[in-house]
Protein backbone atom coordinates (compact mmCIF):
# COMPACT_ATOMS: atom_id res chain seq x y z
CA UNK A 1 0.00 0.00 0.00
CA UNK A 2 1.35 3.44 -0.96
CA UNK A 3 2.67 5.60 1.85
CA UNK A 4 0.92 8.92 2.45
CA UNK A 5 2.87 12.14 2.72
CA UNK A 6 1.38 15.44 3.90
CA UNK A 7 3.02 18.55 2.40
CA UNK A 8 2.44 21.86 4.22
CA UNK A 9 3.53 25.02 2.38
CA UNK A 10 1.97 28.38 1.53
CA UNK A 11 3.59 28.36 -1.92
CA UNK A 12 1.51 26.80 -4.69
CA UNK A 13 4.68 26.29 -6.75
CA UNK A 14 6.40 24.42 -3.92
CA UNK A 15 3.39 22.20 -3.35
CA UNK A 16 3.07 21.34 -7.04
CA UNK A 17 6.79 20.70 -7.39
CA UNK A 18 7.12 18.43 -4.35
CA UNK A 19 3.73 16.74 -4.93
CA UNK A 20 4.59 15.87 -8.54
CA UNK A 21 7.99 14.49 -7.54
CA UNK A 22 6.53 12.32 -4.79
CA UNK A 23 3.57 11.06 -6.83
CA UNK A 24 5.88 10.12 -9.69
CA UNK A 25 7.69 7.90 -7.19
CA UNK A 26 4.54 6.16 -6.03
CA UNK A 27 3.60 8.13 -2.92
CA UNK A 28 0.11 9.31 -2.10
CA UNK A 29 0.17 13.05 -1.33
CA UNK A 30 -2.06 15.31 0.72
CA UNK A 31 -1.45 19.06 0.87
CA UNK A 32 -2.24 22.04 3.09
CA UNK A 33 -1.46 25.75 2.66
CA UNK A 34 -0.59 26.45 6.28
CA UNK A 35 -0.42 24.95 9.74
CA UNK A 36 -4.08 25.65 10.51
CA UNK A 37 -5.33 23.77 7.43
CA UNK A 38 -2.84 20.96 8.05
CA UNK A 39 -4.03 20.56 11.66
CA UNK A 40 -7.65 20.47 10.41
CA UNK A 41 -6.72 17.51 8.21
CA UNK A 42 -4.89 15.74 11.03
CA UNK A 43 -7.70 16.22 13.54
CA UNK A 44 -10.19 15.02 10.90
CA UNK A 45 -8.47 11.65 10.77
CA UNK A 46 -5.65 11.96 8.23
CA UNK A 47 -2.75 9.82 9.40
CA UNK A 48 0.19 10.56 7.09
CA UNK A 49 3.27 8.36 7.18
CA UNK A 50 5.44 11.47 6.76
CA UNK A 51 4.96 15.24 7.00
CA UNK A 52 7.04 17.75 5.04
CA UNK A 53 6.46 21.30 6.19
CA UNK A 54 7.66 24.81 5.45
CA UNK A 55 8.53 27.07 8.39
CA UNK A 56 7.49 30.59 7.39
CA UNK A 57 3.76 30.40 6.72
CA UNK A 58 0.80 32.66 7.55
CA UNK A 59 -1.81 31.80 10.22
CA UNK A 60 0.29 29.07 11.82
CA UNK A 61 4.01 28.76 11.16
CA UNK A 62 5.95 25.56 10.84
CA UNK A 63 7.43 25.40 14.34
CA UNK A 64 4.03 25.78 16.01
CA UNK A 65 2.53 23.27 13.57
CA UNK A 66 5.27 20.72 14.30
CA UNK A 67 4.58 20.99 18.05
CA UNK A 68 0.84 20.51 17.54
CA UNK A 69 1.28 17.72 14.99
CA UNK A 70 3.69 15.89 17.29
CA UNK A 71 0.99 15.79 19.96
CA UNK A 72 -1.19 13.80 17.52
CA UNK A 73 1.42 11.84 15.57
CA UNK A 74 4.02 10.62 18.01
CA UNK A 75 6.07 8.52 15.63
CA UNK A 76 5.61 9.79 12.07
CA UNK A 77 8.72 11.58 10.81
CA UNK A 78 8.35 15.31 10.26
CA UNK A 79 10.78 17.04 7.90
CA UNK A 80 11.05 20.79 7.38
CA UNK A 81 11.60 22.17 3.87
CA UNK A 82 12.57 25.79 4.29
CA UNK A 83 14.92 28.63 3.37
CA UNK A 84 15.70 29.06 7.08
CA UNK A 85 19.21 27.82 7.54
CA UNK A 86 20.69 29.02 10.83
CA UNK A 87 21.58 26.71 13.71
CA UNK A 88 19.24 28.44 16.17
CA UNK A 89 16.18 27.79 14.03
CA UNK A 90 17.22 24.18 13.43
CA UNK A 91 17.49 23.65 17.20
CA UNK A 92 14.05 25.17 17.61
CA UNK A 93 12.69 22.75 15.02
CA UNK A 94 14.39 19.80 16.63
CA UNK A 95 13.02 20.78 20.06
CA UNK A 96 9.52 21.08 18.56
CA UNK A 97 9.76 17.51 17.27
CA UNK A 98 11.13 17.71 13.75
CA UNK A 99 12.94 14.66 12.46
CA UNK A 100 15.10 16.51 9.96
CA UNK A 101 15.86 19.88 8.39
CA UNK A 102 15.98 20.34 4.61
CA UNK A 103 17.06 23.65 3.08
CA UNK A 104 15.43 24.75 -0.19
CA UNK A 105 15.95 24.07 -3.01
CA UNK A 106 15.95 20.29 -2.77
CA UNK A 107 16.42 18.41 -6.02
CA UNK A 108 14.01 15.63 -6.85
CA UNK A 109 16.57 12.85 -6.49
CA UNK A 110 17.73 14.17 -3.10
CA UNK A 111 14.15 14.49 -1.87
CA UNK A 112 13.30 10.90 -2.78
CA UNK A 113 16.53 9.62 -1.25
CA UNK A 114 15.76 11.38 2.05
CA UNK A 115 12.12 10.26 2.05
CA UNK A 116 13.25 6.65 1.58
CA UNK A 117 15.70 7.13 4.42
CA UNK A 118 13.03 8.26 6.90
CA UNK A 119 10.37 5.86 5.57
CA UNK A 120 12.07 2.47 5.46
CA UNK A 121 10.20 0.01 3.30
CA UNK A 122 8.69 2.81 1.20
Amino acid sequence: MAKTILIVDDSATMIMSVKSTLEMNGYKVETAEDGVKAMAKLTSGLKPDLIITDINMPNMGGIEFIKKARAILRFAPILTLTTESQAGMREEGKAAGATGWLVKPVGGADLIRIVKQVLPGA
Binding site: D9, S11, A12, T13, M14, M16, S17, V18, S20, T21, M24, N25, N56, T83, E84, S85, Q86, A87, M89, R90, K94, A98, T99, G100, W101, L102, V103, K104, P105, V106, G107, G108, A109, D110, L111, I112, I114, Q117, V118
Partner: protein, 153 residues
Protein backbone atom coordinates in the same frame (compact mmCIF):
# COMPACT_ATOMS: atom_id res chain seq x y z
CA UNK B 1 17.27 86.92 9.13
CA UNK B 2 15.22 84.67 11.42
CA UNK B 3 12.19 85.23 9.19
CA UNK B 4 14.27 84.29 6.14
CA UNK B 5 15.48 81.13 7.95
CA UNK B 6 11.88 80.31 8.87
CA UNK B 7 10.82 80.61 5.20
CA UNK B 8 13.69 78.38 4.12
CA UNK B 9 12.73 75.84 6.80
CA UNK B 10 9.11 75.80 5.60
CA UNK B 11 10.32 75.43 2.02
CA UNK B 12 12.45 72.44 3.04
CA UNK B 13 9.56 70.85 4.90
CA UNK B 14 7.36 71.31 1.84
CA UNK B 15 10.04 69.79 -0.37
CA UNK B 16 10.36 66.80 1.97
CA UNK B 17 6.60 66.33 1.80
CA UNK B 18 6.78 66.28 -2.01
CA UNK B 19 9.70 63.86 -1.90
CA UNK B 20 7.75 61.58 0.43
CA UNK B 21 4.87 61.42 -2.03
CA UNK B 22 7.21 60.60 -4.90
CA UNK B 23 9.02 58.04 -2.74
CA UNK B 24 5.69 56.36 -2.04
CA UNK B 25 4.72 56.39 -5.72
CA UNK B 26 8.05 54.86 -6.74
CA UNK B 27 7.80 52.17 -4.05
CA UNK B 28 4.23 51.33 -5.07
CA UNK B 29 5.23 51.01 -8.72
CA UNK B 30 8.23 48.82 -7.83
CA UNK B 31 6.00 46.63 -5.69
CA UNK B 32 3.55 46.29 -8.60
CA UNK B 33 6.33 45.35 -10.99
CA UNK B 34 7.81 42.82 -8.58
CA UNK B 35 4.40 41.21 -8.05
CA UNK B 36 4.06 40.88 -11.83
CA UNK B 37 7.47 39.18 -11.93
CA UNK B 38 6.33 36.74 -9.25
CA UNK B 39 3.07 36.03 -11.05
CA UNK B 40 4.81 35.44 -14.39
CA UNK B 41 7.43 33.11 -12.90
CA UNK B 42 4.69 31.17 -11.12
CA UNK B 43 2.75 30.82 -14.40
CA UNK B 44 5.92 29.61 -16.14
CA UNK B 45 6.43 27.06 -13.37
CA UNK B 46 2.90 25.72 -13.88
CA UNK B 47 3.52 25.26 -17.60
CA UNK B 48 6.74 23.38 -16.93
CA UNK B 49 5.10 21.16 -14.33
CA UNK B 50 2.32 20.30 -16.80
CA UNK B 51 4.95 19.42 -19.40
CA UNK B 52 6.86 17.29 -16.93
CA UNK B 53 3.73 15.41 -15.92
CA UNK B 54 2.86 14.81 -19.59
CA UNK B 55 6.40 13.60 -20.28
CA UNK B 56 6.35 11.36 -17.24
CA UNK B 57 3.24 9.59 -18.44
CA UNK B 58 5.20 8.53 -21.51
CA UNK B 59 8.50 7.90 -19.77
CA UNK B 60 9.79 4.39 -19.42
CA UNK B 61 13.41 4.99 -18.58
CA UNK B 62 14.78 5.62 -15.12
CA UNK B 63 17.13 8.35 -16.40
CA UNK B 64 14.26 10.37 -17.83
CA UNK B 65 12.39 10.12 -14.54
CA UNK B 66 15.47 11.38 -12.73
CA UNK B 67 15.76 14.39 -15.07
CA UNK B 68 12.09 15.15 -14.59
CA UNK B 69 12.54 15.04 -10.82
CA UNK B 70 15.49 17.43 -11.06
CA UNK B 71 13.53 19.90 -13.20
CA UNK B 72 10.67 19.80 -10.71
CA UNK B 73 13.17 20.44 -7.92
CA UNK B 74 14.46 23.52 -9.72
CA UNK B 75 10.92 24.92 -9.67
CA UNK B 76 11.51 25.62 -5.99
CA UNK B 77 13.66 28.59 -6.99
CA UNK B 78 10.46 30.48 -7.74
CA UNK B 79 9.38 30.13 -4.13
CA UNK B 80 12.78 31.24 -2.84
CA UNK B 81 12.60 34.29 -5.12
CA UNK B 82 9.06 35.04 -3.93
CA UNK B 83 10.12 35.04 -0.30
CA UNK B 84 13.10 37.32 -0.95
CA UNK B 85 10.94 39.77 -2.85
CA UNK B 86 8.27 39.72 -0.13
CA UNK B 87 10.90 40.55 2.49
CA UNK B 88 12.16 43.42 0.31
CA UNK B 89 8.63 44.76 -0.13
CA UNK B 90 8.02 44.61 3.62
CA UNK B 91 11.13 46.68 4.34
CA UNK B 92 10.18 49.19 1.64
CA UNK B 93 6.75 49.57 3.26
CA UNK B 94 8.24 50.06 6.74
CA UNK B 95 10.76 52.58 5.37
CA UNK B 96 7.96 54.55 3.75
CA UNK B 97 5.90 54.51 6.97
CA UNK B 98 8.89 55.85 8.92
CA UNK B 99 9.51 58.57 6.36
CA UNK B 100 5.85 59.63 6.39
CA UNK B 101 5.92 59.80 10.19
CA UNK B 102 9.03 62.02 9.92
CA UNK B 103 7.35 64.33 7.42
CA UNK B 104 4.18 64.55 9.53
CA UNK B 105 6.17 65.55 12.59
CA UNK B 106 8.03 68.20 10.59
CA UNK B 107 4.86 69.60 9.10
CA UNK B 108 3.06 69.71 12.43
CA UNK B 109 5.92 71.76 13.88
CA UNK B 110 6.44 69.40 16.80
CA UNK B 111 9.04 70.66 19.22
CA UNK B 112 10.88 67.39 19.48
CA UNK B 113 11.34 64.99 16.59
CA UNK B 114 11.68 61.23 17.09
CA UNK B 115 15.12 59.82 16.38
CA UNK B 116 14.33 58.78 12.82
CA UNK B 117 17.95 58.30 11.95
CA UNK B 118 18.30 55.58 14.57
CA UNK B 119 14.98 54.00 13.64
CA UNK B 120 15.92 53.88 9.96
CA UNK B 121 19.31 52.45 10.89
CA UNK B 122 17.63 49.77 13.02
CA UNK B 123 15.30 48.93 10.12
CA UNK B 124 18.31 48.43 7.84
CA UNK B 125 20.24 46.31 10.34
CA UNK B 126 17.20 44.14 11.12
CA UNK B 127 16.70 43.54 7.38
CA UNK B 128 20.32 42.50 6.86
CA UNK B 129 20.27 40.28 9.98
CA UNK B 130 16.99 38.67 8.95
CA UNK B 131 18.28 37.99 5.43
CA UNK B 132 21.31 36.18 6.81
CA UNK B 133 18.97 33.54 8.34
CA UNK B 134 17.94 32.36 4.92
CA UNK B 135 19.93 30.15 2.59
CA UNK B 136 20.62 31.55 -0.88
CA UNK B 137 20.57 35.15 0.36
CA UNK B 138 23.54 37.44 -0.30
CA UNK B 139 24.07 37.89 3.44
CA UNK B 140 24.09 34.14 3.89
CA UNK B 141 27.07 33.83 1.58
CA UNK B 142 28.86 36.46 3.65
CA UNK B 143 28.15 34.72 6.96
CA UNK B 144 28.56 31.09 5.96
CA UNK B 145 28.14 28.71 8.88
CA UNK B 146 28.88 25.55 6.86
CA UNK B 147 25.73 23.86 8.10
CA UNK B 148 24.59 20.87 6.04
CA UNK B 149 21.82 21.42 3.52
CA UNK B 150 20.05 18.25 4.67
CA UNK B 151 20.21 17.22 8.30
CA UNK B 152 18.43 14.31 9.95
CA UNK B 153 18.31 14.71 13.73
Amino acid sequence: MMQQKSHSYLHVVEQIGDISECYSAIDNEMARQLNVVLHDTHEASLVIIDLMNALNSQAHQEDINKHIADVLGSMQSQDILRQRIERMLEVMKKRQTLFEKFVNQLQSNEEQLDDFGSEMNRLFRDYVSNESRHANSIERHNNEQNLPKFELF
